[in-house]
Subunit: 422 residues, 2 copies
């Protein structure tokens, strides 16, 4: 018998499916671990990363070399680069996850039915979790840690530009698991040479329980379009700050500048400022000046601004740019946000309670802020200790996702022979 000829694409498919099947087997063991076993494994993995620091940095240096030769910009090189201090940070991230409460086994609700059946809904791991992400190698370890603590096996599909770094990190993690008597297949790196491994991962229905893409709109759209496995959309944030007519303008300015300039490249940054027409005479020049003083380019339909088109209302700049619009009133602000927003984070600045209540009730987003910066939408800020991403979809999880969002539930029912009447 001759073996069938395998095309490259089929080989990738087989590699992904094989990893997923091994992850499923590992996940059965992970689901039964005690919290103490998982925490010990996380600390052991942290120790192993520190012990292997030199090999990790050497692998990363190779990625950096290749990226430089390919003409990668310095800002991207910085995302890709590991240093001794960064490896220390990655390892201590694992220890931090070890310190978080274990969601598995939590009883979400329960009751005793009239017929004596005792029912309870208990948190259980999702099973096999796929992650697709871009350059930063630290995500490899973060995702492993969160997945392990929540009892899930992780299939990691990182960026090809970080292939050697990711391979070195995952090798260390797998050896650490094995040394603890746990299945190495709890964490596996998928091939990253081309996009086909992403496609095979998101179409591995039955083999993979959920895929979480972390990256730009292009990746998210491709995943949502082609996925047959349930996915959680993360990260696209076209966030607004609405300066209401009853806003304290000092507060509005401080919130706006923080929301726009703290870290312009992250998803909770403000991309549009809406200003109430009733205070436009005073507020518009003041906000423009404050933004321009910080080097922000302002797009809008007022004289002196970069002319805005619909693209400006729709897009995330992820840079020191912002769109500015004067709106007739709170109604118009809500309407603009619900039309153009991505459902991430929206903020109002106002001293008026009725306006605040109406804005929070009517704006359709994962997080709605009253008199606070959009930058607070973040798992660590919310007190979750760590975050796997920020969901902008409505199903399963919305907003920052911590450990409980990496679980499902199971109904456990205890009886003594109950049968259901016809």
């Amino acid at each position: 018998m001759t073996a069938p000829t395998t095309t490259g694409r089929d080989a990738v498919r087989e590699a992904v499916h094989d990893s997923a099947r091994r992850a499923r087997v590992a996940s059965r063991t992970l689901a039964q671990l005690t919290t103490a076993q998982k925490d010990a494994a996380l600390h052991a993995a942290a120790d192993a990363l520190l012990a292997a620091k030199e090999a990790i940095l050497a692998a990363n240096a190779e990625d950096i070399e290749i990226a430089k030769a390919g003409g990668t910009a310095e800002s991207l090189l910085d995302r890709l680069r590991l240093t001794g201090a960064r490896v220390d940070g990655i390892a201590s991230g694992l220890r931090q996850v070890a310190g978080l409460p274990d969601p598995v086994g939590d009883v979400v609700r329960g009751s005793t039915l009239p017929n004596g059946l005792e029912i309870r809904q208990v948190r259980v791991p999702l099973g096999v979790v796929g992650m697709v992400y871009e350059a930063r190698p630290n995500v490899t370890v973060d995702a492993f840690g969160l997945a392990l603590k929540s009892g899930n096996a992780a299939l990691l599909r990182g960026s090809s530009s970080a292939a050697k770094s990711n391979a070195a990190l995952v090798r260390v993690l797998r050896e650490a698991l094995q040394a603890q008597g746990l299945p190495a297949d709890a964490v596996q790196l998928l091939p990253s040479e081309d996009r086909s491994s992403v496609t095979h991962l998101i179409q591995a229905r039955g083999l993979v329980d959920v895929v979480i893409p972390r990256g730009g709109a292009g990746l998210i759209n491709a995943v949502v379009r082609d996925a047959q496995v349930p996915t959680i959309e993360t990260g696209t944030g076209n966030c607004h700050v609405f300066v209401h007519k009853d806003a304290d303008l000092d507060m509005a300015e401080s919130i706006l500048i923080n929301a726009k300039t703290r870290r312009p490249s992250v998803c909770n940054t403000a991309e549009t400022v809406l200003i109430d027409r009733a205070i436009a005479d005073v507020a518009v020049p003041r906000m423009i000046k404050a933004l321009e003083d910080k080097g922000v380019t302002i797009h809008g339909d007022l004289p002196g601004l970069v002319p805005a088109t619909d693209t400006d209302w729709a897009d995330e700049y992820l840079s020191l740019d912002i769109a500015l619009k004067v709106v007739d009133d709170l109604d118009a602000a809500v309407e603009h946000i619900n039309q153009w927003g991505t459902g991430h984070t929206e903020a109002i600045v106002t001293a008026d309670l009725k306006a605040a209540r109406e804005f929070t009730a009517r704006v359709d987003a994962a997080a709605v802020m009253v008199n606070a910066s959009t930058a607070f939408t973040d798992g660590e800020q919310f007190g979750f200790g760590a975050e796997i991403g920020i969901s902008t979809q409505k199903l399963h999880a919305r907003g920052p996702m911590g450990l409980p969002e990496l679980t499902s539930t199971k109904w456990i029912v205890w009886g003594d022979g109950q049968i259901r009447p016809v």
Copy 2:
């Protein structure tokens, strides 16, 4: 200017998208309604259904006529048929939903952060919910009622065989809403002439928040394969009863017979019985006799049974058939179930606490029963008052879905000018 030629398929697409856009507008109003307003609308809709009983029955008679002429089997005709009593039942179902607690506005969790920000996670409606379902016209009204109570607009894609019945029902519901000053577009019926309306519905990303298919494996698979909108898989149930060596055989027999014969066509019916080898000598003949006495055909690899293939382990019979297998021990039972089950409901009969704990911990399903019939996996039995379906996926909802499962959440954050340090 000449209008572009519109093919039939494009026209269906436009009709679905247009409905979805109008549903979105309606959903903004629904999300702000008080519980009292929604309950009043549900009672008004129930009254309207009773008042329109004759027109509804006349429309249903037309569907029945067409189905008969097409040679539809009597069992299917019965699912399709409405009677005065059934319309009464449908109306009182709406009143029952009016009596359930409103999940919208529930605070799921919250805290005050060290910087003084008050954060709380509040239940909000999903928005626009699509339902795809088969013959029964009562689902049209049930889905409307659950969607309305949870503040969602419903896009209903029923069976073409129930088209006239569904149209009559939805007309009554829309008029009742309008008479209450609520948007009629809170409930809309999508065209059902061909499958393309399903495709357009499940690909209307951004317009529809979630689609819940209710029906056979073919429908569910098509939806999961082609959907770009998040979906919730429901209803496929290949459920097992495992008779452990320490089972009380009277109890095992009673549970098995109830799980198989109470209503063989529903998803929580037992499709395979697994018997522990240690008690096979006694238990196998006894279970076979009990099943045969109830007219059940038994498939298996023992002499005297209908020979079984892998198909028998995999499929839902949804009829008076069952597969029977002798397994070596609890391990083998768990392995068989995790290999062949659909993650719906699995039961063990045992007097041994350790076996019960191990089975519930290791079996991967929405519901795991100890000494109870699989038939209990049901929203009403679990005390939810009503159910929109039984989810067999792990994301968002697992097991019977009641009103809270038709909601998402929103983080509402109150501050007094907080900004995030760099």
